[in-house]
Symmetry: D2
């Protein structure tokens, strides 16, 4: 299987949050995606593009259009988007509705990568795999599963991504 090159669009989210030890709060310093790819000994040819580094609760319609535009502009047919989980389904809907002839997979983490107990590395591994193996379409890869953009919702009380109906 040679799915060709793959682009990762970084938008931030819990994935990339660090602990600010002077101020005692979470913040963004830089993306951890390159470090995670190194840890995974990833040999997929990946182009990394950092679009923004924000909490997904701070994403605006303009941010989402920027994500969509980056998907359109990408020369690669396979795209992984790292994104905060709180509004991932909204951005997935913006991108999915555009019906691009590409395989686009959103992923994120419930716990920052810099914490020992993060699900980030697992999710990034599965998102990269789904992006290589699935047909064109826009998906959300969380909890080891891959759900279609028009049938996915984050359950706010459990943190699990589900198919509402």
């Amino acid at each position: 299987m040679d799915p060709g090159a793959l682009r990762i669009l970084v938008t931030g989210g819990t994935f990339d949050k660090d602990y600010h030890e002077i101020e005692g709060r979470l913040f963004f310093r830089e993306t951890h995606v390159p470090e995670m790819l190194r840890l995974g000994r990833c040999k997929v040819f990946v182009v990394l593009e950092q679009l923004m580094l924000v909490d997904s609760l701070d994403m605006t319609d303009a941010s989402r259009q920027l994500v969509l535009q980056a998907c359109r502009n990408a020369s690669e047919g396979r795209i992984v988007i790292t994104h905060g989980t709180d509004t991932m389904e909204l951005t997935a809907r913006t991108v999915g509705a555009a019906q691009l002839a590409k395989t686009i997979v959103f992923t994120g983490a419930m716990v920052p990568y810099t914490f020992g107990s993060s699900d980030g590395l697992f999710n990034l591994g599965s998102a990269l795999a789904f992006a290589q193996a699935l047909p064109h379409g826009t998906y959300v890869a969380m909890n080891g599963r891959c759900l279609h953009w028009d049938n996915v919702r984050k359950n706010k009380s459990t943190g699990v991504f589900e198919e509402p109906g």
Copy 2:
């Protein structure tokens, strides 16, 4: 995408090695796969079956037949096999040549899961994803990629899984 249930066959390998603090050497205590699935907040319905817990250099032809038999017997159509990397290609060949009507994905790790710097969680995430998304066949999922059983080799000097020809 509802790929149905999935079985994980555990055989051991670097994945599952622990550090024996009294004897100062690596050994097997128990599989870390359940802990890794918890860490990944994995919600795929998984049946876990531990076949053995060995270094893949200690695998015999009989061990490989046991793996093949477990693949045959599994009622699930999608199987992930955790395996030491040193002879993963040999067991993949034994299983692949049997041409079962199932999607079977081998994976492993270069560094034990209990070390901070393990690639195990990344590999398990990608293997579970490939197992759900790919058509029937036997594959090796390492380094973020998925290679076909009859065209995969571990490069002994770099540790990377490649397509020889």
Copy 3:
């Protein structure tokens, strides 16, 4: 050297903060001190007493009196107090001014223990050692050093504990 039994008074602080993965914020679930003692294979006979589990910015005069009272009441002559760093110097002053005939050592962490990059285990190790080896008095053990209660200040811009004069 047999310094006899030792009491650890837990008050919370960064030391014990966890990440709330549903709400995406830091919070207290339970103290990590027992887990840290296990990790350090600590064989000092320790009595653990949890007084409170709070951010030290939320500590009141009443909280500090409670800490002092617990020091007075302790039957052990050697006490370690885990405490948030923001107001550690204030509580140390309350306790130190009481001039108890005991060795009392405050410690804490700049980064929560549950993060990979925490200084907590290092600080706990040094605090337990100082508490065993130093004469009666009240001290702050941070950054590998031990400073006297009436001459210690947290530098708010660097996070380092210093002797002001």
Copy 4:
């Protein structure tokens, strides 16, 4: 308390072992002590001297004389020696019998620092504290305790350092 400068003599031991991911075995690459001091935000003025990087089972009488010589030559009055646990008591005896007018503290780890579950950071923190606070003499700091060089033995079955008599 200003105990003045401190020297750390590195000899290797479990402390500094890494996992060789190509050969699947433990080995020495470089010492982790500087990284550990950074993690502990250590502000003690430390001179670091790497004497050797060996498993303590491979230490010879000549190695022990080298350690003793380095203790003699050190201009600092306080010394921490990182050492494998298997023969730590032997080297401590060589150094202790020399009755130098210095405070010398041996420490080590049961589990390599690069493993998630290492006791190394805890031990290093406690050794640095004991070295600053104790009177002249040679000690072994393990398990949160500090034992005198002429009354310490590693219990081979539990891995705990004890006072035999």
